[in-house]
Symmetry: C2
Subunit: 407 residues, 2 copies
C-alpha cells in the first residue's frame, strides 16, 4: 500500500508566510530588514521576496525614495502591491452596515456604507452587505481572496452562530457565518480559481483588536487587551502573540459581567454593578442626567455630550464616575491577563481622551505590582477598526500560507 499522511505543514517555502506578515504589518520595509526579522540569510530573504512579488502580493522598488544618511548600498523598498488582491470586509452595527474591499497592509480600497432600510432580519441584512461588497468588486475588478464579517455579538466556535446579537434585535444563535457564506455564494463572489471564497465571522471588538494590533495603536504589543463600548454593553478582546484569543468556544473576553460597583445597578445576569451596565453609553448619559433620544446612536449622543459640555460639572462628574468604574474593571482584567498594552475603543476611548491621567491612575492603583501597574493605556487609532479587523481575519489564511491559498 502507498503511504498516506495527514499533512500538518504544507510544503512550499515555509518562510513565505512570516515574510508576508512582516511586510503586511510594515515591519519589513526593505529586504535587509526582512532578512534580519526572519533570521535567515540574504539569499533566502531575496528568494522569498521574489516569490511574493511573483505572486503579485508585494512590490519591490529598486529606487527608494529616501536616500538616507547611512553608508553602504541603499536597500530596495518592499511594499504591498497597490493593485494586488483584496478581501471583502463587512460590518453590521446597530445603525447600519458597511462593506469594503481591503488590501494587504490594511489599506481600504473601496467602501460602501448602508443604512438599515431592509428588514431587521439576519439573512436580509447579511445579503445586503454582501451584495454591497460584491458591487464594489464588480466596479473595481479586483481579485478577491476571502471575506470577513464583524457583528456586535459573541460568535460561537466552531458553529459560527451569534450568541447575543442584542443591539440588532436578532434571535440568539443566528447562524451568521453560514448566512454569510451563503450570501457570498449567492452574490457570485469568487476567488481567482472561480470557486466561492471562504467567509469568516467574528465579534466586532475582537476583530477591532486584531486590526489595532496589526496596524494601529496596538502595534508591537506582545499581549494586547482591548476594551470598547459602542452602544449597549462592553466588549473585550485579547491578542496573544499576534493571534486573537477567542477561547475554546469563541466566548473569551466576555468582560461585561465583571463587578465594578457592588452597590450598583442590577444587571440581567443576576448580579449588580456589572461593567456592562455601569460603563456603557447609556450609563454615562444617565449619570449626566440626560434622557437618551431616539434619533442618533447612544455612542454619538455620549460623544457629543462629552466633547461639547465637558466643562459642565455634571457632565464632568459623570465622566469621572464612569472612568472610575472602568478603571476598576480594567485593573481586574490586567491582573488576570497581564497584557503589555491596553487599547480602548468607542466611548471608553473618548473618556480616555478627555482625561487620560485619571483612568491611568485608577488602573495603576488597583492593579498589582511593578510593570503591570504602569501598563500603557492608549486610544484606538484606526478608522473602522472592526471593518479592517474583519479583513485581517479574512487575510489570515493567506498570511499563514500564501502558496496554499494562491498557487
Amino acid at each position: 500500500m502507498t503511504q498516506t499522511r495527514t499533512p500538518r505543514l504544507e510544503r512550499g517555502r515555509s518562510a513565505l508566510g512570516p515574510a508576508l506578515a512582516l511586510v503586511h504589518t510594515g515591519r519589513a520595509p526593505t529586504r535587509a530588514v526582512l532578512t534580519a526579522e526572519l533570521g535567515v540569510t540574504r539569499a533566502t530573504a531575496g528568494a522569498v521576496a521574489a516569490e511574493l512579488e511573483a505572486l503579485g502580493l508585494i512590490q519591490v522598488d529598486a529606487r527608494p525614495a529616501a536616500p538616507a544618511g547611512s553608508q553602504g548600498r541603499p536597500s530596495h523598498r518592499l511594499a504591498i502591491a497597490p493593485d494586488g488582491p483584496v478581501v471583502l470586509a463587512a460590518q453590521i452595527h446597530a445603525d447600519g452596515f458597511r462593506a469594503a474591499l481591503v488590501g494587504l497592509g490594511g489599506r481600504m480600497v473601496a467602501t460602501a456604507p448602508g443604512c438599515m432600510t431592509v428588514p431587521a432580519d439576519p439573512a436580509h441584512i447579511i445579503d445586503a452587505v454582501v451584495e454591497a461588497g460584491a458591487g464594489l468588486l464588480r466596479e473595481t475588478g479586483r481579485r478577491c481572496l476571502g471575506a470577513g464579517l464583524a457583528v456586535p455579538s459573541a460568535v460561537a466556535e466552531p458553529d459560527g452562530t451569534a450568541l447575543n446579537p442584542l443591539h440588532l434585535s436578532w434571535p440568539a444563535g443566528a447562524p451568521v457565518r453560514a448566512l454569510f457564506v451563503e450570501a457570498l455564494a449567492k452574490s457570485g463572489v469568487h476567488g481567482p480559481d472561480g470557486s466561492p471564497v471562504s467567509g469568516v465571522a467574528g465579534n466586532d471588538v475582537n476583530l477591532a483588536a486584531l486590526a489595532e494590533h496589526r496596524h494601529g495603536a496596538g502595534r508591537g504589543a506582545q499581549h494586547l487587551l482591548c476594551v470598547a463600548t459602542g452602544h449597549r454593553g462592553v466588549g473585550g478582546a485579547l491578542v496573544l502573540d499576534g493571534r486573537l484569543h477567542t477561547g475554546s468556544s469563541g466566548l473569551a473576553l466576555e468582560v461585561g459581567h465583571l463587578t465594578v460597583n457592588p452597590a450598583g445597578l442590577p444587571c440581567h445576569c443576576g448580579s449588580r454593578g456589572c461593567l456592562d451596565v455601569e460603563t456603557d453609553p447609556l450609563a454615562f448619559l444617565t449619570a449626566a442626567g440626560r434622557e437618551p433620544g431616539p434619533e442618533v446612536s447612544l455612542l454619538q449622543q455620549s460623544r457629543d455630550l462629552l466633547r461639547s459640555e465637558y466643562a459642565d460639572p455634571t457632565v464632568r462628574a459623570a465622566a469621572d464616575l464612569i472612568v472610575d468604574r472602568l478603571g476598576l474593571g480594567l485593573a481586574g482584567l490586567v491582573n488576570i491577563l497581564n497584557p503589555d498594552r491596553v487599547v480602548l475603543g468607542g466611548l471608553h476611548r473618548e473618556l480616555l481622551d478627555a482625561d487620560p491621567e485619571r483612568l491611568r491612575a485608577v488602573v495603576a492603583d488597583r492593579s498589582l505590582w511593578g510593570r503591570s501597574g504602569s501598563v500603557p493605556i492608549l486610544a484606538a487609532s484606526l478608522d473602522h477598526n472592526s471593518l479592517v479587523g474583519a479583513a485581517e481575519a479574512a487575510w489570515q489564511p493567506v498570511l499563514d500560507d500564501p502558496l496554499a491559498t494562491l498557487g
Copy 2:
C-alpha cells in the same frame, strides 16, 4: 563579508521535539500513533524514534505487552527510557520544602522532603533545597539536564524575582531565580557537558497547572484553567495550547482580587470580598466557627475539618458558602478566559470532592451561554503537582529541541 544570521529555528530534525513531547505526555504509545500524530510518513517517524532512542531518551520494546485484538502487524511500544536523564525539581511552601529528581513522563525518580529548620531566609532555604537535590543526584548518579523551582509567589519576568512571597515571610522582590541558579552552581549540579545546568523558577500554581495539563486531570485540554488555594490567598494559572500563559511580565492569573462578595471582608488590596479572603482555608475555618491553631497548616486543618465533620450543619454551611463564592469567581474567570476545562487544587479541590454538583451548578448559572456554561470542573489528580510542574518547566528546553540541549 561572510553572511551572519540570527538563528530563529535551530537546524536539526525539526520533528524531534514534537515527537519527544508526544511520548512524554503518553500520546504516542507506538510508532504507528506517532506517525499519525506528527503527520509525517512512517519512514520519518521511524527515523525520529531511532534518533530519540540513540539519545537515550526513549526506549523501543519490539515485543509489546498487549497483543491487542486488531489485525495487522503489531506495533512496537515506545516508552520513556527508565534510566534516562532527569531534571532537578524543587518546591518551597509554607511548611517546608521538597526536592526531587523527575524523569521524562513526569516520573518521580527520587524525592527528599525537608522541614523549615533553617532560617526563613530565601538564600538559606534555596541553598538547602538545592543541596537536597544535589544529594539525590549523587546517590542515584543520574544525568541532570535542568532544574526547576516552585515558590508560592508570583515570579516576575524577565527578572525572576518573587513579588509576593507572603507565606514565606520573604521580602517582596527576592531574586529567587538568581539565588536558585547560584545555589545550583555552588552545589556542583552540572549537565552532561560539565557546565552548570540552567535553572528556572515559577509560581507554584502555574507549575501545578502545567503538570496537570501534561500528566494529570488536564490532559488533552486545549485551554486549561487551574485555581488552587493552599494556605492564604488563591492562585490561578492558565495553560493555552500546551504553553503556560504567564502574561507579558509573569503576573497573569493573579485572580485573588476578583470580587466575589461585595459586602464581604476587607482585603489589603483596598477592596472588599476578594476571592483571596473569601475562599482560602482561613475563610473556611472562620466561617465554620473554628479558631485556627498554630500546629499544622491551615490547609491541613481545613481538610481535616471537611473530611471528618462534613455532617455537622455548621461545617456543611461553611463549605457551601465558600463554594458559592468560589463559583462566582470561577464563573467570572470562565467568562473572560473561556477554557474547556477547569482543574482545582488545594482546599478548592477538597470542596469540589465534597459536593461536586453545587460548585458546577453555581458556575453554570453565572457563566454565559452554551458550552462554556457546562465547562468540566475536575479535581487535580497528581501528587506533588507543583513539584512535577517545576520539572516540566525544566524539561521544556529539551522538549523544544532535544538536539540543542543534548548533542
